[in-house]
């Protein structure tokens, strides 16, 4: 027994030595830019963590296949150093520390979930190493003036931004907006942000009305809306509520020039249960496989979707696309900075203006991406991206219920 224990111990030590010798030998062969990433392999967030890991891996593979990263006259390859944060913020921030001080990574990729991103980003801030994250959307991450954190998930407040921008392209442009929203946290942020944006763009918010989550009776709100003759009706809520609003709007013959909803139009059930009444209704989404953007690492979104599905056997969702954008921004920013200096790269990231398969990436001064949500519309029983640069043109104005 004693002998067995000793053998096992020696074996373990040998294993440790081999593992520790291997790393520097590989690194010396080619010039490498190390990206550090502490993310959930195990624990409660591991499912979403995997989406980001798959995306990061695929993007890095693509960068290296396409000739790596050019810094001045040198060519570097990307390499990711991963650690498992066990879905625990304490563990995660400690591992980021390890990535910076022991593994000496050049830059950082983010973890999944806002609660873990914040402590991690504070470590990045202490060491002044830029971190790009695709997995935390909370405004809190960007509220403290941390210069070293950049996020590629759009804030809830910007959800309707592209819709409002689209309104400007119509002649005559609609002037009055009605906003209906459910009283949960997310929808509240959407509504607040939309109101501020609409007012900034010179539109008048004539109705700004909250309803209880899961409400079924919208008669009084809709009557008010009709009386105020709002041109545009924006709804931030859930599928059931979107269905009820649409049906009751038809019954009361409320017909603004445009109806758009956050949740509902993109779901097949919504279109099936409303049938013809769903026509012309607009929706928003931050990203979906139907979209088509010119890419930086990939030719376009559709090519990416095909390659991704072939590689991993599942359809990519917005988490994956966001992760791809993170790596793309790093490559672009490092090349523009022409240096691996963290400060120069940070400034280059802040100045990013890049077309990716996830959409156009540009950061707000606080580090969060400028709203990239796109406008969808139901046309002929199907949903299409109509703005910006969709497969179909937006159909406007909305023909009144009785005139169909």
């Amino acid at each position: 027994m004693k002998g067995l224990v000793r053998t096992a111990l020696i074996g373990l030590i040998a294993l440790g030595l081999v593992a520790s010798l291997e790393l520097p030998a590989n690194a010396a062969a080619t010039k490498v830019i190390k990206l550090g990433c502490a993310i959930s392999f195990t624990g409660g967030k591991s499912r979403s963590g995997k989406l980001y890991r798959d995306a990061y891996d695929m993007a890095v593979e693509q960068v290296n296949k396409k000739g790596g990263v050019k810094v001045g006259s040198d060519t570097y390859m990307f390499k990711i150093v991963y650690y498992d944060d066990k879905s625990d913020p304490t563990e995660s921030s400690r591992l980021v520390e390890k990535l910076i001080t022991q593994d000496k990574v050049n830059f950082l990729l983010g973890p999944y979930s806002s609660g873990i991103t914040i402590p991690d980003s504070l470590v990045a801030q202490r060491y002044e190493i830029p971190m790009i994250e695709g997995g935390g959307a909370s405004g809190k991450i960007f509220s403290r003036g941390n210069k070293y954190i950049f996020g590629t998930l759009p804030p809830a407040g910007q959800y309707f931004k592209s819709t409002l921008e689209m309104l400007k392209t119509f002649t005559p442009a609609p002037k009055t907006v009605a906003i209906l929203y459910s009283d949960d946290k997310f929808d509240l942020s959407v509504a607040k942000g939309t109101k501020a944006l609409a007012e900034q763009m010179g539109m008048k918010v004539v109705l700004y009305e909250k309803y209880a989550e899961g409400a079924t009776d919208f008669n009084s709100i809709l009557t008010k809306l009709k009386a105020m003759k709002a041109d545009v009706m924006l709804v931030a809520g859930h599928t059931e509520e979107s269905l009820n609003v649409t049906q009751q709007a038809k019954e009361l013959n409320v017909c603004p020039k445009l109806i758009s909803m956050t949740v509902g139009p993109s779901e097949a059930d919504f279109r099936k249960s409303l049938g013809k009444d769903a026509e012309y209704i607009f929706g928003v989404a931050s990203w979906s496989t139907q979209m088509n953007f010119k890419g930086y690492l990939f030719k376009d979104t559709q090519e990416f979707v095909k390659l991704f599905k072939a590689k991993f056997g599942y359809d990519p969702d917005y988490h994956n696309a966001s992760g791809i954008a993170d790596v793309a921004v790093f490559k672009d920013a490092i090349e523009r900075a022409g240096s691996l200096n963290p400060e120069k790269v940070r400034d280059a990231i802040a100045a990013t203006s890049l077309a990716t398969i996830y959409g156009h990436v540009e950061f707000n001064p606080n580090g969060q991406i400028k709203g990239t949500s796109v406008v969808l519309q139901i046309q002929g029983g199907k949903i299409y991206q109509v703005y910006p640069e969709g497969t179909k043109k937006p159909r406007y104005p909305f023909p009144c219920w009785k005139e169909r």
Binding site: A19, F41, K98, I100, G115, P119, L122, R126
Partner: protein
């Protein structure tokens, strides 16, 4: 006997000195790692007071940690107070909470006590998630220390080390006083202890309050180091489980048991997750199970008895009929 004691004091002194010097020779990651180990050493030792000595298996000790963290965050961020004031209030707040909650809950025994404490921690989490002053579920920032990174880590390390030393000294004094004997009497047979005139309610509540005090201190330093806390992670039952596993692994009801447990568990876990990115939890579970089967009295028992051979393991297995 006297010589023996002297040697023990000397050993402790040398160990303490060695620990004090750690940060001077290591990189920031090691300092932070060491700080985390010290934190768990304190929490496991604090759990030992109620779980190891008194025999009340508390499954809700994380509640003191969370309270400590949130008291610190609210006092520093909302009231603009200095860290040391917040630190003391955090410990006191947690201790006070322990007394308030201990009076009803400590009447329960065995599984009932375990479940009740678990419930208290969950209830506290729900409360913090819905309060305005704690900024609800989205979490709360703390002011960051305005010092060079390295100096910050020195600060946190020495705060933790100081708290650990305090915890051990207080526990040591307590064990050699009447209260310590009362606690052990309660663990062995509470009714008998009661019948010989020991004020069991007082003794239990004191142990619980001290456990809360030290765990609250930990939460406070932790919050300041993290600079951001959320209700979910601050009140997670995982932390309690970790305290218990460390205390049991090292040796329950022994002064240095939990300390040893915290050091070995954290180092083993770090080693495993370094080399096995995915399977580390599996291996870690195996290590813990083997340790419990072969040395149910904790590894400190092995060291005290100076027996590392097969005979010791077999004896344990026979004795505990596993």
């Amino acid at each position: 006997m006297r010589n023996h004691l002297l040697r023990n004091y000397l050993l402790c002194g040398v160990a303490l000195l060695a620990l004090t010097l750690v940060p001077l020779f290591c990189n920031n990651f090691i300092i932070r790692f060491a700080t985390d180990i010290l934190m768990f050493a304190i929490m496991a030792s604090a759990w030992n007071l109620i779980g190891g000595y008194t025999g009340y298996a508390s499954f809700g000790n994380v509640v003191f940690f969370g309270i400590g963290a949130y008291v610190t965050a609210v006092l520093m961020e909302k009231a603009g107070l200095n860290f040391f004031i917040a630190f003391l209030s955090a410990g006191m707040g947690a201790a006070l909470f322990a007394i308030l909650i201990g009076l009803p809950v400590l009447r329960l025994r065995g599984h009932y006590f375990a479940i009740a404490t678990l419930g208290v921690a969950e209830a506290m989490k729900a409360l913090v998630q819905n309060l305005e002053i704690t900024e609800g579920n989205s979490g709360i920032y703390l002011p960051m220390m305005d010092l060079a990174v390295r100096k910050q880590y020195y600060f946190f390390f020495y705060m933790m080390l100081g708290t650990l030393v305090l915890t051990l000294i207080v526990t040591y004094i307590l064990l050699n006083a009447k209260l310590g004997y009362s606690l052990i009497a309660i663990r062995e047979d509470e009714d008998a202890a009661n019948s010989v005139g020991i004020n069991t309610t007082y003794a239990k509540t004191m142990a619980f309050a001290l456990s809360g005090l030290f765990t609250g201190f930990c939460g406070s330093i932790y919050a300041y180091q993290q600079a951001f806390i959320k209700p979910g992670p601050a009140f997670t039952v995982h932390t309690t489980v970790k305290m218990i596993v460390m205390a049991v692994f090292g040796g329950m009801g022994k002064l240095f048991g939990p300390l040893l447990g915290a050091f070995s568990i954290e180092i083993i876990s770090e080693f495993l997750s370094n080399y096995f990115l995915l399977a580390h939890t599996l291996f870690f579970g195996v290590v813990v199970i083997l340790a419990i089967v072969f040395t149910p009295k904790g590894i400190i028992d092995m060291i005290i008895q100076k027996r590392f051979g097969l005979a010791y393991f077999l004896e344990n297995i026979r004795e505990h009929r596993v």
